[in-house]
């Protein structure tokens, strides 16, 4: 059964990708989508049986892979509670995204390729979560990286998409190098790469030391940190996050599936999978908490200033991943996984909703050209609202009733507060980020669906209205100037454009995901994060800390109320500045220009990396080539030798002059030389 879940998508991808000419576009789409729905239908029973407590963990061997001395690993499929959670997340979102793409990609000439990539991605992701050894996890890890690269660059004629795709791959490779070194170190220490064996042996290694790069370090700390660098790359944590916003160059369904619901959560999954190992390395956990909290805050601040609807959601994703990491860092792995689970639904919903808006607005992604769409695309509006209610964590405090994010995010914050001093810092950072989350999420809704239409100024809309139908996703946000935006378009109207609601294939996924965003938290909070039920549910697949979860439920009432208060505050600020008094944001920007510029330019990370890494790499490369290879090695090596030979020949030619005294002179020199040598030698 698990074989079917994992390999059906691969099979579909291969047939649709390689045989598209033979079987045609529609068949490719039916095949891939059908395979995914089949995988999804097979996954839910597994998950529900784990929820019911009737399933046992299992490992299914597939094929021998490598054995080299003690280093041995096979292709295997592991299914336990943690895997089961990921299985339903991946297959459900993937199946819905496949369906959604029928509508969203309808006009694209390259649909079989798109669907094949989506299915290929799903296969790689499934291999990642079913891995029983670190190397297969790495296979899935890089496999999803490849699929992500291919899908970001799906519109390969767009230079910006190509650049974003390469950036995503290379930045991820930086993390992957850390992951690889982590695997090597783990093998060196434990003599195996099998995950269960490592986790069993990890406590025995606590307190041991090892030399890494001539530094004497705590073994478990350095191993966990190296592995965590991998997680940081894939999950776009601060420092290695720069690829994620650019990845929005890909089609929107891709953003929903890969860059929101599944792939980017792989880092969180990895930390949870290896949680017994991380538990033996408190310093590493401290780093995880710090990086998570910092990312959570950083991304939220940037998210408040962006105009591109997808980028706002991308930074929001980055920020929510930060929540998951600091939950893991304080030891609340159940809460981290719970947020991963609910986030997959509401964030996929938000992205697909955004896709529906973009579809309605003829490829316009700039929120400055939206407004008043509530009545035009009501279904999308309600779906986006459900997603926003979920991400901002709306619920009735203390009663335990609320949207998905209410359960999972509050669970994280409470666990962080209960975890002691470091956790409490994370708690306050998280609370502040929640305020920002609420603000930017409602800002997005208000700018898009409320107020007056500002469509006329959009180039895309103008193209649409004036019948200039060339379907190019090429310059989706080229040429929009920040400065003229605010003032100019406030009084503009619809420009004669009529947005249209998306087709059914797009609305059904929105509906299903809305249900998830509304009920997922309420339905599954008990098994995921409640102390006793959690122990029974997780069955040791993560290092579930019963005491911490107990303590989390008994934090002071004020602490429990805090997320609600900041959520309401964020909502109020957003309402105040984007509905009540729409001139407020402009005045704020004028007042705090420098701060706004800093945030709007994403803390200048891209510029910094460009100066630090990209430009020097090319400059040094050119230097090595021109000055090193050509200027030094060749000049003094082969070319020099050739010149020497040539020079020598010329000299020899000149010596053979035909004059007797010349020869006599040389003979004399030779005699003198010989005589001197004999004297030195024998006297």
């Amino acid at each position: 059964m698990i074989q079917a879940i994992v390999f059906l998508p691969l099979l579909a991808a291969l047939i649709a990708g390689l045989g598209q000419r033979v079987i045609g576009t529609t068949a490719s789409k039916i095949l891939t989508t059908g395979a995914l729905f089949a995988s999804c239908a097979l996954s839910w029973p597994i998950f529900l049986s784990f929820v019911a407590g009737s399933a046992e963990p299992s490992v299914t061997p597939v094929l021998h892979w490598v054995s080299s001395g003690a280093l041995q690993f096979d292709w295997e499929l592991r299914v336990d509670t943690l895997t089961a959670v990921m299985l339903v997340v991946i297959t459900t979102v993937s199946a819905l995204v496949h369906l959604y793409s029928w509508g969203y990609m309808e006009e694209d000439p390259d649909q079989p390729r798109f669907f094949a990539y989506l299915s290929l991605f799903t296969f790689a992701m499934l291999m990642l979560v079913t891995a029983n050894n670190l190397v297969q996890m790495f296979f899935g890890w890089e496999g999803v990286g490849l699929a992500s690269y291919l899908l970001i660059g799906f519109w390969y004629k767009k230079p910006s998409a190509n650049a974003a795709a390469i950036k995503a791959f290379v930045v991820n490779r930086v993390g992957d190098l850390g992951f690889m070194l982590g695997i090597f170190g783990t093998f060196l220490v434990f003599g195996t790469v099998s995950i269960p064996e490592i986790l069993a042996a990890a406590p025995g290694m606590a307190g041991s030391t090892i030399t890494f790069l001539d530094m004497r370090l705590d073994t478990m700390t350095i191993l966990c940190l190296l592995l965590f660098i991998g997680a940081m790359g894939k999950s776009a944590q601060l420092g290695l996050h720069t690829w994620l916003p650019d990845a929005m160059e890909g089609p929107t369904p891709v953003s929903a599936l890969i860059h929101a619901a599944t792939m980017v959560t792989a880092g969180v999954f990895m930390v949870c999978r290896l949680s017994p190992m991380f538990e033996t390395a408190p310093v590493a956990l401290g780093v995880v908490t710090f990086v998570g909290a910092a990312t959570c805050l950083f991304a939220a601040t940037v998210g408040t200033t962006q105009w591109d609807i997808k980028r706002v959601i991308a930074y929001s994703t980055c920020s929510q991943l930060g929540y998951m990491f600091f939950a893991a860092g304080v030891g609340a792995y159940g809460a981290a996984m719970f947020h991963l689970f609910t986030h997959a639904f509401f964030k996929a919903l938000l992205f697909l909703g955004a896709g529906s808006v973009i579809h309605a607005m003829h490829h316009e992604q700039d929120m400055r050209y939206y407004g008043a769409l509530r009545k035009e695309i009501p279904f999308t509006f309600w779906a986006m609202t459900a997603g926003t209610l979920a991400i901002t964590g709306v619920g009735i405090p203390l009663a335990g009733i609320g949207f998905a994010g209410f359960h999972s995010k509050d669970g994280i914050l409470e666990a962080a507060f209960a975890a002691g001093e470091g956790g409490q810092v994370a708690y306050w950072v998280g609370v502040f980020a929640a305020l920002l989350t609420s603000f930017y999420s409602w800002r997005l809704v208000f700018l898009t669906f409320f107020g007056k239409p500002r469509w006329a100024a959009s180039e895309h809309i103008q193209h649409a209205v004036h019948g200039d139908h060339h379907d190019h996703p090429a310059d989706e946000h080229a040429g929009h100037d920040v400065a003229h935006a605010h003032a100019a378009d406030a009084h503009e109207g619809t420009g004669g454009y009529h947005p249209h609601e998306s087709p059914l294939s797009m609305l059904i996924p929105l509906g299903v995901l809305s249900l998830g965003a509304i009920f997922a938290g309420f339905l599954f909070a008990h098994p995921f994060i409640y102390p006793e039920e959690g122990m029974a549910f997780w069955k040791g697949s993560i290092a579930f800390d019963e005491h911490l979860m107990h303590a989390a439920h008994e934090v002071p009432t004020l602490i429990k109320l805090m997320p609600f208060v900041v959520m309401a505050t964020g909502l109020f600020i957003a309402w105040n500045s984007y509905i009540r008094d729409t001139t407020l944001p402009a005045r704020f920007v004028a007042q705090f220009g420098l701060l706004h510029k800093f945030l709007f330019n994403k803390w200048y990370f891209d510029e910094l990396y460009n100066v630090l890494f990209v430009k020097p790499a090319f400059a040094i490369g050119r230097f090595f080539w021109k000055r090193g290879d050509e200027g030094t090695i060749d000049r003094f090596g082969p070319d020099g030798a050739a010149a020497l030979v040539q020079g020598g020949t010329r000299l020899a030619v000149r010596l053979q002059s035909g004059y007797v005294y010349g020869y006599a002179f040389v003979m004399l020199l030779g005699l003198v030389g010989l005589a001197s040598w004999a004297m030195v030698k024998f006297l």
């Binding site: 054995s67 695997i183 434990f190 490369g621 090596g637």
Partner: protein, 515 residues
């Protein structure tokens, strides 16, 4: 006549025949002969007894003096011979239409080269080995010099000058070895313990020759020029097999024959390898010529091979061997990728292309596959080799592993950057638009290469199994001289250790790393 002699004779006879027939027949004869050799290779592989005697298919005949016709293979040699006979028919196919001048001579050169390369891998006599090893220069020299590009004479001379210079030193070292040990028999020499101070000199002399063949930094500059000027099939065989002879020499001679010197001087190899990975990767990043870019990437890959070999452990050496095989297939495929579009547009300049995904989708797919294999994506052959060798290197030194590991990042950067400029982007240039997708002949070359690259990635056991015993032998030979790794794992004073009763388990494994 033994199987190995037969494999040497078939291409040799065919080579002579090629000189006297029409162009068309020369192609057919060459293709048939290489296919026959490939079939013989499969027989060789199936009849090779894994886990049996170290040397199999041995043949011995006294010729004159101490000189013997002595052949025999172990698992490593078997795999490299398989690589040779696998690539050869593909090279002949690749030259089918591209070569129009002096076809008979060209085919003869390739067939002679095949004999020589098989000879290198199966020679059991030191002198015989040397003759094969150096003779390989001659056909390659002519292939570059006669059928090469505009600057072919310079490239051919550079290639010749570099490789010859090193080999003179190796010849002297070999004569010294024969005088010392009193035999030219390689298996006997493998067990002979040379005095340590002599080992150092012998090691350095061999190193001078083999480093050029690898090629290692800083004696690598002949390779980009040779590749750029060589015809497509010449590049394929140069990158595919000739570059492996250096590493083969390391593994066959330097490491097991001079273990003490190898341990003493391993730092030279590590330092040069580290420089090579970073240096040549960065140089590859700024190339405008496709072949130069891939040539530089070869130097970077070969640097991981040398570092992996000198890790002195099972993973490092097996990984290095898999990289050799994988690089043999993948770089040959990449050079063929260049050849395919060179045949259509007659330029190697990257900027002249762009947007090929539109009019050559099948080509784009294969190019993507080999690009990914080159950057070591798991599931392809490149990953298994890189992963194993880096794992081995890490056991020896975390610094070397880290620096060589940057090749993983830079490799992705230069290969994807190349791919983007050639295949992606808007299709604007008219002459590029007119390029048709790959032909049936090109499919026939791509498909086997792709199949092997994936096979080696998903189930490398087929390739590792024959070599395992030989690597174990080399590792055992090196073990007394092997320095400790830099990890120095020390158990902690933790109470958890006793509580979990895992001490024995943990310590049993530490042994590998701690020494």
């Amino acid at each position: 006549m033994g199987l190995l002699s037969l494999m040497l004779a078939v291409p040799m006879v065919a080579a002579i025949a090629c000189l006297f027939v029409t162009d068309r027949n020369a192609r057919l004869i060459a293709f048939a002969a290489t296919l026959i050799d490939f079939a013989l290779g499969i027989v060789l592989w199936t009849r090779f007894d894994i886990g049996g005697a170290q040397w199999q298919f041995t043949e011995r005949a006294d010729l004159f003096g101490r000189f013997q016709w002595a052949l025999g293979i172990d698992g490593m040699a078997l795999m490299l011979i398989m690589l040779t006979v696998f690539l050869m028919p593909l090279c002949i196919l690749a030259s089918w239409d591209a070569i129009t001048r002096r076809v008979g001579l060209y085919m003869a050169m390739f067939l002679v080269m095949e004999t020589i390369m098989i000879g290198v891998f199966c020679a059991q006599d030191l002198i015989l080995f040397y003759i094969f090893f150096e003779a390989g220069l001659i056909p390659m020299y002519f292939i570059i010099g006669i059928w090469g590009g505009a600057n072919r004479i310079y490239a051919a001379f550079k290639f010749f000058l570099y490789t010859l210079l090193g080999s003179v030193l190796m010849l002297i070292a070999m004569i010294a070895m024969i005088r010392e040990a009193g035999t030219t028999d390689i298996p006997t020499l493998l067990a002979y313990n040379f005095p340590p101070e002599m080992q150092t000199w012998l090691w350095l002399a061999f190193f001078a020759s083999l480093a050029v063949k690898m090629p290692m930094w800083p004696v690598h500059t002949w390779l980009p020029d040779a590749h750029v000027q060589a015809p497509t099939a010449g590049s394929m065989i140069l990158a595919g097999v000739l570059l492996k002879m250096g590493a083969y020499g390391f593994l066959r001679f330097m490491m097991p024959m001079f273990p003490d010197a190898s341990a003493q001087l391993m730092w030279i190899v590590f330092v040069l390898s580290m420089i090579a990975v970073v240096y040549t990767s960065l140089v590859a990043l700024v190339q405008n010529d496709m072949k130069k870019l891939i040539a530089y990437s070869s130097v970077a890959h070969m640097a991981i091979v040398t570092a992996g070999l000198f890790a002195f452990n099972q993973q490092g050496i097996e990984g290095a061997l898999i990289i050799m095989l994988s690089h043999g297939v993948v770089s040959a495929a990449l050079f063929f990728c260049v050849g395919v579009i060179y045949d259509r547009l007659h330029t190697r300049e990257i900027g002249r292309y762009g947007g090929l995904a539109v009019n050559m989708p099948a080509y784009a797919l294969f190019f993507m596959l080999f690009t990914m294999a080159s950057v070591g994506l798991p599931g392809t052959s490149g990953f298994v080799g890189e992963f194993l060798s880096l794992a081995g290197i890490y056991e020896a030194s975390s610094w070397v592993a880290l620096v060589c590991g940057t090749g993983v990042i830079l490799g992705a950067a230069y290969m994807l950057y190349l791919y983007r400029r050639v295949v992606f982007g808007e299709l604007t240039k008219d002459d590029v638009k007119a390029m048709p997708d790959i032909t049936a002949r090109e499919w026939a070359i791509f498909v086997p290469l792709a199949a092997v690259a994936l096979w080696m990635g998903v189930y490398p056991e087929s390739f590792l199994a024959p070599m395992r015993g030989d690597v174990t032998t080399v590792v055992a030979r090196l073990a007394p001289a092997k320095p400790a790794g830099d990890a120095h794992l020390a158990a902690g004073k933790s109470k958890a250790a006793e509580a979990h009763g895992e001490v024995a388990h943990g310590e049993a494994h530490q042994a590998g790393g701690v020494q």
